[in-house]
């Protein structure tokens, strides 16, 4: 049962065994992750394209994401740093759960899975907080803010009462307009971090389901904890995507 040294890669293709030396479920999880990674890759590539196009007027993340809970100070990127730390940490607890599963250590799996779920839930909550501040915006808003945007507003009083568009200071962000810069900035922020956040949310639900199975002793009865490894793959993938989102949205 230990590490099978006598694996002959050539003979493996003659049938009777998996030439990849993995179970069907794990292989299919990998294939799913490749397709999902292509989706995220496509989104980030399209983000890169638009950012190239509006390179001169693209807002700087250090000027947009400056909030931190309970602290009034201007702390650029501190909060997203914390979020990243939480997600990497939960990735570590996940891999420790997988390791405990390899030793058939039910208690270890339970403990580490629990902390993984806590970390995931904290990350989703942090993202909600980040979105809230992004949408509400700053006191200053529009042009006096960080690059800013005007909103064209219909005003009856303009043009001797005939009406016309005037420009107004805008606070916060919607899909159509935001105070930080070109509309595409908020569009991509909402879409990509939202898509990733939804993956994290699904991951938490999946982890919770598997956690309940661990508590019930399903995998103890089954004789192996491979299911932990499979959900672990998904969870690490979510962390992997965040590493890229973090770089392309916040650092560059």
């Amino acid at each position: 049962m230990a590490h099978v040294a006598e694996f002959d890669a050539k003979a493996a293709w003659d049938g009777g065994q998996s030439p990849f030396r993995v179970s069907y479920g794990k292989m299919m999880m990998w294939f799913f992750l490749v397709s999902d990674a292509l989706t995220f890759g496509g989104l980030l590539v399209s983000y890169g394209f638009i950012r190239h196009k509006y390179a001169e007027v693209w807002p700087k993340a250090e000027n947009v994401f400056t909030h931190f809970p309970f602290i009034e100070q201007h702390l650029p990127l501190a909060y997203v740093g914390l979020m990243t730390f939480i997600l990497i940490m939960s990735s570590v607890t996940m891999v420790l759960a997988v390791e405990a599963g390899h030793r058939m250590d039910r208690r270890g799996v339970t403990v580490w899975m629990f902390w993984t779920i806590v970390g995931g839930a904290m990350f989703v909550g942090s993202q909600a907080w980040e979105w809230y501040h992004f949408i509400v915006g700053t006191h200053v808003g529009g042009p006096e803010g960080h690059g800013g945007a005007w909103r064209n507003v219909w005003d009856q009083a303009v043009n001797n009462g005939a009406g016309g568009y005037v420009k107004q200071v805008y606070h916060g962000a919607t899909m159509a307009v935001n105070e930080y810069g070109v509309p595409q900035f908020a569009n991509y922020f909402f879409f990509i971090t939202g898509f990733h956040g939804f993956h994290v949310f699904s991951g938490v639900i999946i982890n919770l389901t598997i956690f309940l199975n661990v508590l019930k002793g399903t995998y103890e009865k089954r004789g192996h904890y491979e299911m932990i490894e499979k959900v672990g793959l998904y969870w690490h993938f979510v962390d992997l995507v965040w590493v890229f989102v973090f770089t392309f949205f916040y650092l560059l």
Binding site: Y54, E62, A78, G141
Partner: protein
């Protein structure tokens, strides 16, 4: 192991190990974690102080950030996702198609992204956004208060 009734290899249990091996595995995992944490902290410090001009906006720094990201990604895939421990052929089946597609996509955005930014390829709507943003930027550096600028803008409509 009552589930298995055939002589097909039991891949599900193939990576099971004892406590001694587990201890070694855990040490490796924690080391990977510390390296990733150090990289992230380094990126954050540089990233948060970067106003985007001088050396902090330089191309080599961006390339460095992307390089460090790829290092972190490799650490996650090879150690946390155990791809480093899989059979060579399986590794290639996962990585090669993905890397091929992404390299092509990156190549195409670099080419097309630059091309679409040429003045003759910018649409009228694009130009409005760009002009508006530039105007606001120059207004910001001027330091005028919001209402004064607003009044100036509405006068244009009279």
């Amino acid at each position: 192991m009552s589930e298995f009734h055939d002589d097909y290899p039991h891949y599900e249990t193939m990576y099971n190990h004892d406590e001694a091996h587990g201890k070694k595995a855990r040490r490796t995992l924690w080391n990977v974690f510390w390296i990733m944490l150090a990289i992230t902290i380094f990126e954050l410090i540089i990233g948060s102080m970067a106003p985007g001009h001088g050396w902090t906006g330089a191309l080599w720094l961006k390339v460095l950030f992307i390089g460090l990201t790829v290092v972190k990604a490799a650490a996650i895939v090879l150690w946390f996702m155990h791809l480093g421990h899989e059979v060579k052929f399986f590794k290639y089946i996962i990585l090669l198609p993905y890397i091929t597609f992404i390299l092509y996509a990156v190549f195409i955005i670099l080419v097309e992204g630059v091309y679409s930014g040429y003045p003759r390829n910018v649409t009228r709507v694009d130009q409005i956004f760009i002009d508006q943003q530039k105007e606001l930027k120059s207004g910001h550096h001027g330091g005028g208060d919001a209402h004064a600028t607003e009044a100036a803008h509405s006068e244009e409509h009279h």
